[in-house]
Amino acid sequence: MKYIIAMIQPHKLTDVKAALAEVGVRKMTVTNALGCGSQGGYTEVYRGVPSEINLLKKIKLEIGVNEEYTDKTVQAIIKGAKTGEIGDGKIFVFDLPECIRIRTEEKGNDAIG
């Protein structure tokens, strides 16, 4: 099994979810994050004091999938999140040796979906 972590632009979440649903991936976990990358940042001026904001708001997506879904999932994320502009984000793919569904105590491939 694989565990996919993707950082995307916040306003792309709806598109990514739609693209994932198309390939049959409906289970995921979403968190707020702040990202630092090539995107730079922006300046705020508060009471005359400029300050550089280089942590930008991002969405972090976590999805556990069976091997055969790995590629489809990555492609779907790209499809939903890609605009070609800096800040689109990144996908990290990990090996996932074990997965357990708490409700049923099922394990492995049966548990993940």
Binding site: P10, L13, N32, Y42, E44, V45, Y46, K57, K58
Partner: protein, 441 residues
């Protein structure tokens, strides 16, 4: 019953620089002790009412802020602050003289009584208002009209364009139609009745807001490609509720204060009855809007209850001096139904009015005018004319203004700026620095 008397000591129209010369003079003629007391009471009364109406600025700011996304908070607050600030300055220089031209220019459509505030007459007695407090009361009304629009155009309009709009409205649009009625113009001559401004203030603002919402178009994501509306929930209903309570309190200055005097048996009675009518209409509006929305959407929606209270208040504003308690309940109740229906109607028409400014102030402003005919015994035809003319004036002039701003490309922010939120893109400032906010929304 707004002031129709001519401004005393009106200054002749001059250049702005001349304004530097206006200094009020203080000379009180000899008067009986009774008259002195009555003068003090009436002016004190209007002063307190003006303060209550000014407090409504805070109410509007909170209602609008709470019903919008967190990312536009600074922008909305700033617009409200500037509605009052720019409004007071321009109404002082221009608007006040346009709204109460006195005999300056004959004719019921337009006149100018001079820059600034006239000096006080030497008269002292019941019902005589010092020009300073009269101005204060009137300027608070002008700022109210301006600030209604702020909610309707929230989340997508450029700040500088908003300032231009706000200046034009308080300096020209509001005073001109205001003069038609309260300045003794043609609507007044016609017998049109609008006691405290369902039309003059609220419908004008509500329809100006509608024009803005139409020209701007909806916020990104508010309607799907297939026209289905999406919910864009407000970020802080505690602030919105506080705002509504503050507006309710402010309305006790708005309506009772519009009697302009409390001394004299009839005045005293009128002020008290108006206050109670205002209360009954407000509460009936809130209750009925809640029940109606509950029946329609199967759950009690706080924002509908809040809009319902405001709807009842707007609806009673034109006629609170002319109806009895039970009629006030009915007028408020109908207001509650209208506001919920109006919100659904805008959704069907794909017009995005984030806070319901049009259903509350526009639709119920008209209802208030008509109700003065149905229940208040005012001539129905005059009521219909007044309740059409002022909304049309507000809607038409603002359609033009927003159209011009759009044509020169400064009306709406860019797609990306809108997504980031106006606080960051227009002000480089966050309202809730340090709080974690879900950014998908």
């Amino acid at each position: 019953m707004k002031r129709l008397t001519l401004k005393t000591g009106v200054l002749s129209a001059g250049l702005l620089v001349a304004a530097a010369l206006f200094s009020p003079q203080l000379h009180a003629a000899e008067a009986t002790a009774d008259a002195v007391n009555a003068y003090a009471i009436d002016n004190f009364f209007l002063f307190i009412c003006a303060v209550l109406v000014l407090f409504m600025q805070a109410g509007f700011a909170l209602v609008e802020t709470g019903l919008n996304a967190a990312k536009n908070t600074v922008n909305i607050l700033f617009k409200n602050l500037m509605d009052l600030s720019i409004g007071a300055i321009l109404f002082y220089f221009i608007g006040y003289g346009l709204m109460y031209p006195g005999g300056a220019f004959e004719g019921g459509w337009f006149g100018f009584g001079g820059f600034g505030i006239g000096s006080a007459s030497s008269e002292i007695g019941a019902g005589v208002l010092h020009p300073a407090v009269d101005f204060l009361f009137q300027v608070a009304f002008a700022a109210t009209a301006a600030t209604i629009v702020s909610g309707a155009v929230a989340g997508r309009m450029q700040f500088k364009s908003y300032l231009i709009y706000s200046a034009v409205l308080t300096a020209f649009i509001y005073p001109i139609s205001g003069m038609w009625k309260w300045g003794g113009g043609w609507l007044n001559t016609l017998g049109f009745h609008d006691f405290a401004g369902s039309l003059v203030v609220h419908a004008l603002g509500g329809f100006a807001g509608l024009a803005g919402a139409i020209v701007l178009g909806p916020r990104l994501g508010r309607f799907n490609a297939d026209g289905k509306p999406n919910a864009m929930p407000g970020h802080n209903l505690a602030l919105s509720t506080l705002g509504v309570f503050i507006l309710l309190i402010g309305w006790y200055g708005f309506n009772p204060g519009s009697q302009l005097a409390v001394v004299g048996g009839d005045n005293t009675a009128a002020v008290m009855i108006i206050a109670t009518n205002t209360t009954l209409a407000a509460t009936a509006g809130a209750f009925v809007a809640m029940m109606f929305a509950w029946a329609l959407f199967k759950k009690p929606d706080l924002t509908m209850g809040l809009n319902g209270m405001l709807a009842g208040l707007v609806a009673i504003t034109a006629n609170c001096d002319a109806v009895d308690y039970n009629e006030a309940l009915i007028i408020g109740a109908v207001g509650g139904i209208l506001v919920v229906s109006g919100i659904k109607l805008l959704d069907m028409l794909k017009i995005d009015d984030p806070v319901g400014a049009w259903p509350v102030h526009g639709l119920n402003g008209i209802w208030g005018g008509i109700a003065a005919g149905i229940f208040g015994g005012k001539p129905l035809m005059a009521q219909l004319i007044g309740s059409t003319a002022i909304p049309l004036w507000g809607f038409g002039t603002m359609l033009v203004l927003f159209g011009i701003l759009k044509a020169i490309g400064i009306l709406r922010v860019s797609r990306e700026e809108e997504m980031k939120g106006l606080d960051i893109s227009e002000h480089e400032e966050e309202a809730y620095y340090g709080f974690e906010i879900f950014t998908t929304q």
